[in-house]
Protein backbone atom coordinates (compact mmCIF):
# COMPACT_ATOMS: atom_id res chain seq x y z
CA UNK A 1 0.00 0.00 0.00
CA UNK A 2 2.91 2.31 0.83
CA UNK A 3 4.34 1.81 -2.65
CA UNK A 4 0.96 2.33 -4.31
CA UNK A 5 0.68 5.66 -2.48
CA UNK A 6 4.18 6.52 -3.72
CA UNK A 7 3.14 5.81 -7.32
CA UNK A 8 0.04 8.01 -7.04
CA UNK A 9 2.13 10.93 -5.74
CA UNK A 10 4.92 10.34 -8.29
CA UNK A 11 2.45 10.09 -11.17
CA UNK A 12 0.85 13.30 -10.02
CA UNK A 13 4.27 14.96 -9.92
CA UNK A 14 5.06 13.54 -13.36
CA UNK A 15 2.03 15.15 -14.97
CA UNK A 16 1.98 18.25 -12.78
CA UNK A 17 3.49 20.40 -15.50
CA UNK A 18 0.47 19.61 -17.70
CA UNK A 19 -2.04 20.46 -14.97
CA UNK A 20 -1.73 24.17 -15.58
CA UNK A 21 -4.23 26.90 -14.86
CA UNK A 22 -4.33 27.67 -18.58
CA UNK A 23 -5.33 24.09 -19.44
CA UNK A 24 -7.98 24.04 -16.72
CA UNK A 25 -9.32 27.40 -17.90
CA UNK A 26 -9.61 26.10 -21.48
CA UNK A 27 -11.57 23.03 -20.34
CA UNK A 28 -13.70 25.10 -17.98
CA UNK A 29 -14.59 27.77 -20.53
CA UNK A 30 -15.17 25.24 -23.33
CA UNK A 31 -17.35 23.00 -21.13
CA UNK A 32 -19.38 25.90 -19.74
CA UNK A 33 -19.92 27.54 -23.12
CA UNK A 34 -20.91 24.27 -24.78
CA UNK A 35 -23.27 23.43 -21.90
CA UNK A 36 -24.87 26.88 -22.06
CA UNK A 37 -25.16 27.09 -25.85
CA UNK A 38 -26.50 23.55 -26.28
CA UNK A 39 -28.70 24.04 -23.21
CA UNK A 40 -27.73 20.50 -22.14
CA UNK A 41 -25.68 21.01 -18.97
CA UNK A 42 -24.71 17.33 -18.74
CA UNK A 43 -22.26 17.84 -21.64
CA UNK A 44 -19.83 19.41 -19.14
CA UNK A 45 -19.40 15.96 -17.63
CA UNK A 46 -18.51 14.50 -21.04
CA UNK A 47 -15.89 17.21 -21.56
CA UNK A 48 -14.35 16.82 -18.11
CA UNK A 49 -14.40 13.02 -18.27
CA UNK A 50 -12.62 13.24 -21.61
CA UNK A 51 -9.99 15.41 -19.90
CA UNK A 52 -9.69 12.83 -17.08
CA UNK A 53 -9.11 10.01 -19.62
CA UNK A 54 -6.46 12.15 -21.30
CA UNK A 55 -4.69 13.18 -18.09
CA UNK A 56 -4.68 9.67 -16.63
CA UNK A 57 -2.77 8.51 -19.70
CA UNK A 58 -0.09 11.22 -19.27
CA UNK A 59 2.12 9.22 -16.85
CA UNK A 60 2.67 6.79 -19.74
CA UNK A 61 3.51 9.71 -22.01
CA UNK A 62 6.06 11.03 -19.50
CA UNK A 63 7.28 7.44 -19.13
CA UNK A 64 7.95 7.25 -22.87
CA UNK A 65 9.55 10.67 -22.94
CA UNK A 66 11.74 10.58 -19.84
CA UNK A 67 11.90 6.97 -18.68
CA UNK A 68 10.24 7.53 -15.30
CA UNK A 69 9.25 3.84 -15.26
CA UNK A 70 12.93 3.10 -14.81
CA UNK A 71 12.99 5.63 -11.99
CA UNK A 72 10.18 3.77 -10.21
CA UNK A 73 12.16 0.55 -10.50
CA UNK A 74 15.23 2.30 -9.17
CA UNK A 75 13.11 3.30 -6.17
CA UNK A 76 12.59 -0.43 -5.63
CA UNK A 77 8.84 -0.24 -6.35
CA UNK A 78 7.40 -3.52 -7.59
CA UNK A 79 5.62 -3.79 -10.92
CA UNK A 80 2.31 -4.73 -9.28
CA UNK A 81 2.37 -1.60 -7.15
CA UNK A 82 2.98 0.53 -10.25
CA UNK A 83 -0.03 -1.05 -11.98
CA UNK A 84 -2.35 -0.68 -8.99
CA UNK A 85 -1.12 2.87 -8.43
CA UNK A 86 -1.86 3.83 -12.04
CA UNK A 87 -5.40 2.39 -11.85
CA UNK A 88 -6.17 4.12 -8.55
CA UNK A 89 -4.73 7.35 -9.94
CA UNK A 90 -7.02 7.00 -12.96
CA UNK A 91 -10.08 6.48 -10.74
CA UNK A 92 -9.14 9.50 -8.63
CA UNK A 93 -8.81 11.63 -11.77
CA UNK A 94 -12.21 10.50 -13.01
CA UNK A 95 -13.78 11.05 -9.62
CA UNK A 96 -12.43 14.60 -9.53
CA UNK A 97 -13.71 15.18 -13.07
CA UNK A 98 -17.20 13.94 -12.15
CA UNK A 99 -17.32 16.05 -8.98
CA UNK A 100 -16.14 19.16 -10.83
CA UNK A 101 -18.59 18.33 -13.60
CA UNK A 102 -21.49 18.15 -11.15
CA UNK A 103 -20.57 21.56 -9.71
CA UNK A 104 -20.39 23.05 -13.21
CA UNK A 105 -23.59 21.25 -14.16
CA UNK A 106 -25.37 22.95 -11.25
CA UNK A 107 -23.88 26.32 -12.25
CA UNK A 108 -25.20 25.95 -15.80
CA UNK A 109 -28.58 24.87 -14.50
CA UNK A 110 -28.69 27.96 -12.34
CA UNK A 111 -27.69 30.14 -15.28
CA UNK A 112 -30.36 28.54 -17.48
CA UNK A 113 -32.86 28.71 -14.61
CA UNK A 114 -33.55 24.97 -14.89
CA UNK A 115 -33.80 23.68 -11.31
CA UNK A 116 -33.49 19.91 -11.07
CA UNK A 117 -36.39 18.13 -9.41
CA UNK A 118 -35.94 15.15 -7.09
CA UNK A 119 -37.09 12.64 -9.72
CA UNK A 120 -34.68 14.22 -12.16
CA UNK A 121 -31.79 13.63 -9.76
CA UNK A 122 -32.28 9.87 -9.87
CA UNK A 123 -31.96 9.68 -13.65
CA UNK A 124 -29.16 12.29 -13.54
CA UNK A 125 -27.23 10.17 -11.03
CA UNK A 126 -27.61 7.24 -13.39
CA UNK A 127 -26.28 9.51 -16.14
CA UNK A 128 -23.29 10.61 -14.04
CA UNK A 129 -22.53 7.00 -13.18
CA UNK A 130 -22.77 5.96 -16.85
CA UNK A 131 -20.34 8.70 -17.86
CA UNK A 132 -17.98 7.59 -15.06
CA UNK A 133 -18.20 3.96 -16.17
CA UNK A 134 -17.64 4.81 -19.84
CA UNK A 135 -14.68 7.12 -19.22
CA UNK A 136 -13.00 4.71 -16.78
CA UNK A 137 -13.91 1.87 -19.15
CA UNK A 138 -11.93 3.58 -21.93
CA UNK A 139 -8.91 3.72 -19.60
CA UNK A 140 -9.41 0.07 -18.70
CA UNK A 141 -9.07 -0.76 -22.41
CA UNK A 142 -6.10 1.59 -22.86
CA UNK A 143 -3.95 0.72 -19.85
CA UNK A 144 -2.87 -2.85 -20.71
CA UNK A 145 -1.76 -1.56 -24.13
CA UNK A 146 0.10 1.35 -22.56
CA UNK A 147 1.85 -1.04 -20.19
CA UNK A 148 2.86 -3.31 -23.03
CA UNK A 149 3.70 -0.87 -25.81
CA UNK A 150 4.16 2.49 -24.12
CA UNK A 151 2.10 5.60 -24.76
CA UNK A 152 2.74 6.37 -28.44
CA UNK A 153 2.14 2.88 -29.83
CA UNK A 154 -0.47 2.03 -27.21
CA UNK A 155 -2.55 5.06 -28.13
CA UNK A 156 -2.75 3.96 -31.74
CA UNK A 157 -3.52 0.38 -30.75
CA UNK A 158 -6.20 1.56 -28.31
CA UNK A 159 -8.38 2.26 -31.29
CA UNK A 160 -8.51 -1.48 -31.97
CA UNK A 161 -10.38 -2.63 -28.84
CA UNK A 162 -12.69 0.37 -29.19
CA UNK A 163 -13.37 -0.55 -32.81
CA UNK A 164 -14.00 -4.10 -31.62
CA UNK A 165 -16.62 -2.85 -29.18
CA UNK A 166 -18.28 -0.81 -31.94
CA UNK A 167 -18.19 -3.72 -34.40
CA UNK A 168 -19.56 -6.17 -31.81
CA UNK A 169 -22.33 -3.71 -30.93
CA UNK A 170 -23.18 -3.32 -34.64
CA UNK A 171 -23.25 -7.12 -35.11
CA UNK A 172 -25.42 -7.64 -32.05
CA UNK A 173 -27.80 -4.90 -33.15
CA UNK A 174 -27.84 -6.18 -36.71
CA UNK A 175 -28.67 -9.76 -35.82
CA UNK A 176 -30.63 -9.27 -32.62
CA UNK A 177 -32.02 -5.74 -33.07
CA UNK A 178 -35.57 -6.85 -33.75
CA UNK A 179 -35.43 -9.35 -30.92
CA UNK A 180 -34.14 -6.65 -28.52
CA UNK A 181 -36.95 -4.28 -29.58
CA UNK A 182 -39.52 -6.97 -28.88
CA UNK A 183 -37.97 -7.58 -25.46
CA UNK A 184 -39.39 -4.25 -24.21
CA UNK A 185 -36.18 -3.28 -22.33
CA UNK A 186 -37.95 -0.64 -20.28
CA UNK A 187 -39.89 -3.43 -18.60
CA UNK A 188 -36.71 -5.12 -17.39
CA UNK A 189 -36.00 -4.71 -13.70
CA UNK A 190 -33.43 -1.87 -13.27
CA UNK A 191 -31.64 -3.95 -10.63
CA UNK A 192 -31.01 -6.62 -13.29
CA UNK A 193 -29.62 -4.03 -15.70
CA UNK A 194 -27.38 -2.53 -13.00
CA UNK A 195 -26.21 -6.01 -11.99
CA UNK A 196 -25.49 -6.93 -15.61
CA UNK A 197 -23.55 -3.71 -16.25
CA UNK A 198 -21.74 -4.14 -12.91
CA UNK A 199 -20.69 -7.70 -13.70
CA UNK A 200 -19.48 -6.77 -17.21
CA UNK A 201 -17.56 -3.78 -15.79
CA UNK A 202 -15.97 -5.93 -13.08
CA UNK A 203 -14.88 -8.54 -15.63
CA UNK A 204 -13.33 -5.81 -17.80
CA UNK A 205 -11.61 -4.33 -14.72
CA UNK A 206 -10.15 -7.66 -13.58
CA UNK A 207 -9.01 -8.62 -17.10
CA UNK A 208 -7.52 -5.16 -17.60
CA UNK A 209 -5.55 -5.21 -14.31
CA UNK A 210 -4.36 -8.78 -14.77
CA UNK A 211 -3.23 -8.07 -18.36
CA UNK A 212 -1.46 -4.88 -17.25
CA UNK A 213 0.41 -6.75 -14.50
CA UNK A 214 1.30 -9.53 -16.95
CA UNK A 215 2.62 -7.09 -19.56
CA UNK A 216 4.42 -4.84 -17.10
CA UNK A 217 6.17 -7.73 -15.35
CA UNK A 218 7.57 -8.75 -18.73
CA UNK A 219 8.54 -5.25 -19.77
CA UNK A 220 12.24 -4.46 -19.80
CA UNK A 221 13.38 -0.88 -19.53
Amino acid sequence: MKNIKKIIILDFLAIQSYLTFKNFAIYFVFAMLYGLISKTPITVLYTLSFAAVLYSSYPYFVGDESGIDALYKIFGIQAKSVVFGRYIFMYLMNLCAILMGIIMFLMINLALKQPVQLEGWISLSAGFLSIFLVSTGISLLQFPLFFKFGYAKGKILTIMPMMLVVILTAIVMGYFGDYLKKMNLEAIDPISIISFVGVVYLIVLVVSIRSSIFFYLKKEL
Binding site: L13, A14, E65, S66, A70, L71, F75
Partner: protein, 284 residues
Protein backbone atom coordinates in the same frame (compact mmCIF):
# COMPACT_ATOMS: atom_id res chain seq x y z
CA UNK B 1 31.38 -9.81 2.63
CA UNK B 2 34.13 -8.65 0.27
CA UNK B 3 32.10 -8.24 -2.87
CA UNK B 4 29.35 -5.68 -3.23
CA UNK B 5 28.17 -7.17 -6.53
CA UNK B 6 28.82 -10.62 -7.92
CA UNK B 7 27.67 -11.67 -11.37
CA UNK B 8 27.69 -15.35 -12.28
CA UNK B 9 27.20 -16.64 -15.82
CA UNK B 10 24.90 -13.81 -16.90
CA UNK B 11 23.47 -14.63 -20.32
CA UNK B 12 20.99 -12.49 -22.18
CA UNK B 13 19.91 -12.87 -25.78
CA UNK B 14 18.72 -10.15 -28.12
CA UNK B 15 18.13 -10.49 -31.84
CA UNK B 16 21.40 -8.86 -32.79
CA UNK B 17 23.48 -9.18 -29.64
CA UNK B 18 23.96 -11.40 -26.65
CA UNK B 19 25.72 -11.40 -23.32
CA UNK B 20 27.62 -14.64 -23.09
CA UNK B 21 28.29 -16.15 -19.65
CA UNK B 22 29.34 -12.85 -18.12
CA UNK B 23 30.90 -13.33 -14.68
CA UNK B 24 32.73 -10.79 -12.55
CA UNK B 25 32.89 -9.30 -9.07
CA UNK B 26 32.77 -5.72 -7.84
CA UNK B 27 34.80 -5.58 -4.62
CA UNK B 28 33.46 -3.48 -1.78
CA UNK B 29 35.25 -0.21 -1.07
CA UNK B 30 36.88 0.20 -4.49
CA UNK B 31 36.30 1.77 -7.87
CA UNK B 32 35.82 -0.84 -10.56
CA UNK B 33 36.02 0.32 -14.13
CA UNK B 34 33.74 -1.47 -16.56
CA UNK B 35 35.22 -0.94 -19.98
CA UNK B 36 34.49 -1.98 -23.50
CA UNK B 37 33.60 -0.47 -26.85
CA UNK B 38 30.11 0.83 -27.56
CA UNK B 39 27.64 -2.00 -27.90
CA UNK B 40 29.76 -4.48 -25.98
CA UNK B 41 27.15 -5.19 -23.29
CA UNK B 42 28.03 -2.74 -20.52
CA UNK B 43 24.61 -1.10 -20.31
CA UNK B 44 22.79 -4.44 -20.58
CA UNK B 45 24.84 -5.76 -17.67
CA UNK B 46 24.21 -2.63 -15.61
CA UNK B 47 20.49 -2.72 -16.36
CA UNK B 48 20.45 -6.34 -15.20
CA UNK B 49 22.12 -5.35 -11.93
CA UNK B 50 19.44 -2.68 -11.46
CA UNK B 51 16.61 -5.12 -12.32
CA UNK B 52 15.60 -2.91 -15.25
CA UNK B 53 16.18 -6.07 -17.28
CA UNK B 54 15.06 -9.30 -15.70
CA UNK B 55 14.71 -11.97 -18.37
CA UNK B 56 18.20 -13.43 -18.30
CA UNK B 57 20.03 -16.57 -17.28
CA UNK B 58 22.57 -16.51 -14.50
CA UNK B 59 22.78 -15.07 -11.02
CA UNK B 60 23.40 -11.58 -9.70
CA UNK B 61 24.23 -11.14 -6.04
CA UNK B 62 24.09 -7.82 -4.25
CA UNK B 63 25.74 -7.93 -0.83
CA UNK B 64 25.58 -11.70 -1.16
CA UNK B 65 21.82 -11.77 -1.76
CA UNK B 66 20.30 -12.97 -5.03
CA UNK B 67 18.46 -10.01 -6.58
CA UNK B 68 16.10 -12.32 -8.46
CA UNK B 69 13.12 -12.00 -6.12
CA UNK B 70 10.01 -9.90 -5.63
CA UNK B 71 11.74 -7.65 -3.13
CA UNK B 72 13.79 -5.05 -4.99
CA UNK B 73 14.59 -2.82 -2.03
CA UNK B 74 18.33 -3.41 -2.57
CA UNK B 75 18.13 -0.87 -5.44
CA UNK B 76 17.56 1.87 -2.88
CA UNK B 77 21.13 1.26 -1.74
CA UNK B 78 22.44 2.15 -5.20
CA UNK B 79 23.05 5.60 -6.58
CA UNK B 80 22.75 5.76 -10.34
CA UNK B 81 24.21 8.07 -12.92
CA UNK B 82 23.29 6.98 -16.40
CA UNK B 83 23.28 8.43 -19.86
CA UNK B 84 19.62 9.26 -19.32
CA UNK B 85 18.52 10.88 -16.05
CA UNK B 86 15.12 9.08 -15.74
CA UNK B 87 13.73 12.38 -14.49
CA UNK B 88 10.70 14.01 -16.11
CA UNK B 89 12.08 16.65 -18.42
CA UNK B 90 9.61 19.27 -17.23
CA UNK B 91 10.49 18.83 -13.57
CA UNK B 92 12.05 21.75 -11.76
CA UNK B 93 14.78 20.99 -9.23
CA UNK B 94 12.09 21.42 -6.56
CA UNK B 95 9.97 18.73 -8.28
CA UNK B 96 13.03 16.48 -8.45
CA UNK B 97 13.56 16.95 -4.72
CA UNK B 98 9.90 16.14 -3.99
CA UNK B 99 9.95 13.04 -6.20
CA UNK B 100 13.14 11.75 -4.58
CA UNK B 101 11.79 12.36 -1.08
CA UNK B 102 8.78 10.21 -2.04
CA UNK B 103 10.85 7.52 -3.74
CA UNK B 104 13.78 7.09 -1.37
CA UNK B 105 13.04 6.16 2.23
CA UNK B 106 16.32 7.61 3.54
CA UNK B 107 16.30 10.82 1.54
CA UNK B 108 18.11 13.76 3.11
CA UNK B 109 16.71 17.03 1.84
CA UNK B 110 19.33 19.23 3.52
CA UNK B 111 22.15 17.17 2.09
CA UNK B 112 20.60 17.49 -1.38
CA UNK B 113 20.38 21.26 -1.00
CA UNK B 114 24.01 21.33 0.11
CA UNK B 115 25.11 19.31 -2.92
CA UNK B 116 23.14 21.57 -5.24
CA UNK B 117 25.18 24.46 -3.87
CA UNK B 118 28.48 22.53 -4.06
CA UNK B 119 27.78 21.49 -7.66
CA UNK B 120 26.49 24.97 -8.51
CA UNK B 121 23.25 23.65 -9.98
CA UNK B 122 20.86 26.44 -10.85
CA UNK B 123 17.70 25.57 -8.91
CA UNK B 124 15.49 27.74 -11.10
CA UNK B 125 16.06 25.56 -14.14
CA UNK B 126 14.03 22.60 -15.33
CA UNK B 127 15.68 19.22 -15.96
CA UNK B 128 15.44 19.74 -19.73
CA UNK B 129 17.25 23.07 -19.40
CA UNK B 130 20.28 21.60 -17.63
CA UNK B 131 23.44 20.94 -19.60
CA UNK B 132 24.84 17.41 -19.90
CA UNK B 133 27.38 18.12 -17.19
CA UNK B 134 24.77 19.65 -14.89
CA UNK B 135 22.49 16.63 -15.38
CA UNK B 136 25.35 14.35 -14.36
CA UNK B 137 25.99 16.48 -11.28
CA UNK B 138 22.28 16.46 -10.44
CA UNK B 139 22.24 12.66 -10.57
CA UNK B 140 25.32 12.58 -8.35
CA UNK B 141 23.66 14.97 -5.89
CA UNK B 142 20.67 12.61 -5.81
CA UNK B 143 22.87 9.56 -5.33
CA UNK B 144 24.76 11.18 -2.42
CA UNK B 145 21.56 12.43 -0.79
CA UNK B 146 19.92 9.05 -0.33
CA UNK B 147 22.95 7.57 1.41
CA UNK B 148 23.77 5.23 -1.50
CA UNK B 149 26.49 2.79 -0.58
CA UNK B 150 27.10 1.85 -4.19
CA UNK B 151 27.41 4.11 -7.18
CA UNK B 152 26.74 2.69 -10.61
CA UNK B 153 27.79 5.01 -13.37
CA UNK B 154 27.04 4.26 -17.00
CA UNK B 155 29.04 6.45 -19.35
CA UNK B 156 28.73 9.44 -17.04
CA UNK B 157 31.62 11.38 -18.54
CA UNK B 158 30.89 11.05 -22.24
CA UNK B 159 30.12 14.48 -23.61
CA UNK B 160 31.65 16.27 -20.64
CA UNK B 161 34.49 18.73 -21.00
CA UNK B 162 37.89 17.89 -19.42
CA UNK B 163 37.38 20.32 -16.52
CA UNK B 164 34.10 18.74 -15.41
CA UNK B 165 35.55 15.25 -15.96
CA UNK B 166 38.46 16.11 -13.68
CA UNK B 167 36.04 17.48 -11.08
CA UNK B 168 33.95 14.32 -11.44
CA UNK B 169 36.97 12.08 -10.81
CA UNK B 170 37.76 14.00 -7.65
CA UNK B 171 34.19 13.56 -6.42
CA UNK B 172 34.40 9.79 -6.95
CA UNK B 173 37.73 9.54 -5.19
CA UNK B 174 36.33 11.43 -2.22
CA UNK B 175 33.30 9.12 -2.23
CA UNK B 176 35.33 5.91 -1.95
CA UNK B 177 37.36 7.26 0.96
CA UNK B 178 34.57 5.71 3.00
CA UNK B 179 35.32 1.97 2.92
CA UNK B 180 31.63 1.15 2.79
CA UNK B 181 31.30 2.91 -0.55
CA UNK B 182 31.75 1.12 -3.85
CA UNK B 183 31.74 2.36 -7.43
CA UNK B 184 31.10 0.52 -10.68
CA UNK B 185 32.06 2.91 -13.44
CA UNK B 186 31.26 2.00 -17.03
CA UNK B 187 32.95 4.04 -19.68
CA UNK B 188 34.73 3.97 -22.98
CA UNK B 189 36.72 7.07 -22.03
CA UNK B 190 39.48 5.17 -20.36
CA UNK B 191 41.69 8.08 -19.29
CA UNK B 192 39.21 8.60 -16.46
CA UNK B 193 39.77 5.07 -15.24
CA UNK B 194 43.56 5.07 -15.44
CA UNK B 195 43.46 7.92 -12.97
CA UNK B 196 41.05 6.50 -10.40
CA UNK B 197 40.06 2.85 -10.91
CA UNK B 198 41.37 0.04 -8.71
CA UNK B 199 39.92 -2.82 -10.74
CA UNK B 200 38.98 -3.34 -14.36
CA UNK B 201 36.36 -5.49 -16.01
CA UNK B 202 36.85 -5.60 -19.76
CA UNK B 203 33.95 -6.72 -21.91
CA UNK B 204 33.76 -6.98 -25.67
CA UNK B 205 31.09 -8.48 -27.89
CA UNK B 206 29.17 -9.65 -24.82
CA UNK B 207 32.16 -11.60 -23.41
CA UNK B 208 34.38 -10.80 -20.47
CA UNK B 209 38.03 -10.66 -21.53
CA UNK B 210 39.60 -9.56 -18.29
CA UNK B 211 38.71 -8.98 -14.69
CA UNK B 212 41.30 -7.96 -12.11
CA UNK B 213 43.33 -5.01 -10.87
CA UNK B 214 44.25 -2.13 -13.18
CA UNK B 215 47.96 -2.90 -12.75
CA UNK B 216 47.45 -6.54 -13.68
CA UNK B 217 45.43 -5.44 -16.69
CA UNK B 218 48.10 -3.05 -17.90
CA UNK B 219 50.91 -5.52 -17.19
CA UNK B 220 49.13 -8.37 -18.92
CA UNK B 221 49.83 -7.00 -22.39
CA UNK B 222 52.70 -5.41 -24.29
CA UNK B 223 52.81 -3.60 -27.57
CA UNK B 224 55.66 -4.66 -29.80
CA UNK B 225 56.90 -2.66 -32.77
CA UNK B 226 59.23 -3.54 -35.59
CA UNK B 227 59.91 -2.91 -39.25
CA UNK B 228 57.42 -4.32 -41.72
CA UNK B 229 60.03 -6.81 -43.02
CA UNK B 230 60.11 -8.41 -39.55
CA UNK B 231 56.37 -8.78 -39.20
CA UNK B 232 56.49 -12.43 -40.27
CA UNK B 233 58.90 -13.34 -37.49
CA UNK B 234 56.21 -13.20 -34.84
CA UNK B 235 53.88 -16.16 -34.33
CA UNK B 236 50.42 -15.26 -35.56
CA UNK B 237 48.82 -17.18 -32.71
CA UNK B 238 50.47 -14.86 -30.19
CA UNK B 239 49.02 -11.70 -31.70
CA UNK B 240 45.89 -10.33 -30.05
CA UNK B 241 45.66 -7.32 -32.31
CA UNK B 242 47.88 -5.70 -34.88
CA UNK B 243 48.27 -2.64 -37.01
CA UNK B 244 50.34 -2.22 -40.15
CA UNK B 245 51.81 1.06 -41.42
CA UNK B 246 53.82 1.79 -44.60
CA UNK B 247 57.11 0.90 -43.03
CA UNK B 248 56.40 -0.56 -39.63
CA UNK B 249 54.24 -3.05 -37.87
CA UNK B 250 52.90 -3.08 -34.33
CA UNK B 251 51.06 -5.74 -32.43
CA UNK B 252 49.69 -6.37 -28.98
CA UNK B 253 50.61 -9.65 -27.37
CA UNK B 254 50.42 -11.11 -23.89
CA UNK B 255 53.50 -10.27 -21.81
CA UNK B 256 54.06 -13.98 -21.29
CA UNK B 257 54.51 -14.34 -25.05
CA UNK B 258 57.39 -11.85 -25.14
CA UNK B 259 60.04 -14.59 -25.47
CA UNK B 260 58.45 -15.51 -28.78
CA UNK B 261 59.74 -12.35 -30.46
CA UNK B 262 63.29 -11.30 -31.20
CA UNK B 263 65.17 -8.97 -28.88
CA UNK B 264 65.32 -5.98 -31.18
CA UNK B 265 61.58 -5.38 -31.34
CA UNK B 266 60.55 -2.27 -29.43
CA UNK B 267 58.39 -3.20 -26.43
CA UNK B 268 55.99 -0.72 -24.85
CA UNK B 269 53.45 -0.84 -22.07
CA UNK B 270 49.99 -0.17 -23.54
CA UNK B 271 47.35 2.22 -22.25
CA UNK B 272 43.83 0.95 -21.49
CA UNK B 273 42.69 2.60 -24.71
CA UNK B 274 45.30 0.75 -26.75
CA UNK B 275 44.35 -2.58 -25.17
CA UNK B 276 40.73 -2.01 -26.14
CA UNK B 277 41.63 -0.89 -29.65
CA UNK B 278 43.92 -3.86 -30.34
CA UNK B 279 41.40 -6.29 -28.91
CA UNK B 280 38.79 -4.86 -31.24
CA UNK B 281 41.07 -4.86 -34.28
CA UNK B 282 42.22 -8.46 -33.90
CA UNK B 283 45.02 -9.82 -36.00
CA UNK B 284 44.28 -8.70 -39.55
Amino acid sequence: MNNRIEIKKLTKHYETFFLDDVSFKVPKGYITGFIGPNGSGKTTTIKSILSLIHQYKGTILYNGQDICGENKSYVEDIGIVMDSTFLAKDWTIKNVERAMSVGYSNWDQHQFEDYLKVFEIDQTLKVKELSRGMNTKLMLAIAFSHQAKTLILDEPTSGLDPIIRDEFREILQAYVEDEEHTVLFSTHITQDLEAIADYIVFIQGGKIYFTGSVDDFLNRYVIVKAGLDEADTIEASAIIGSRQYHTRFEAMILREDLPKISDHWIVEKPTIDQIMVFHKRGNN
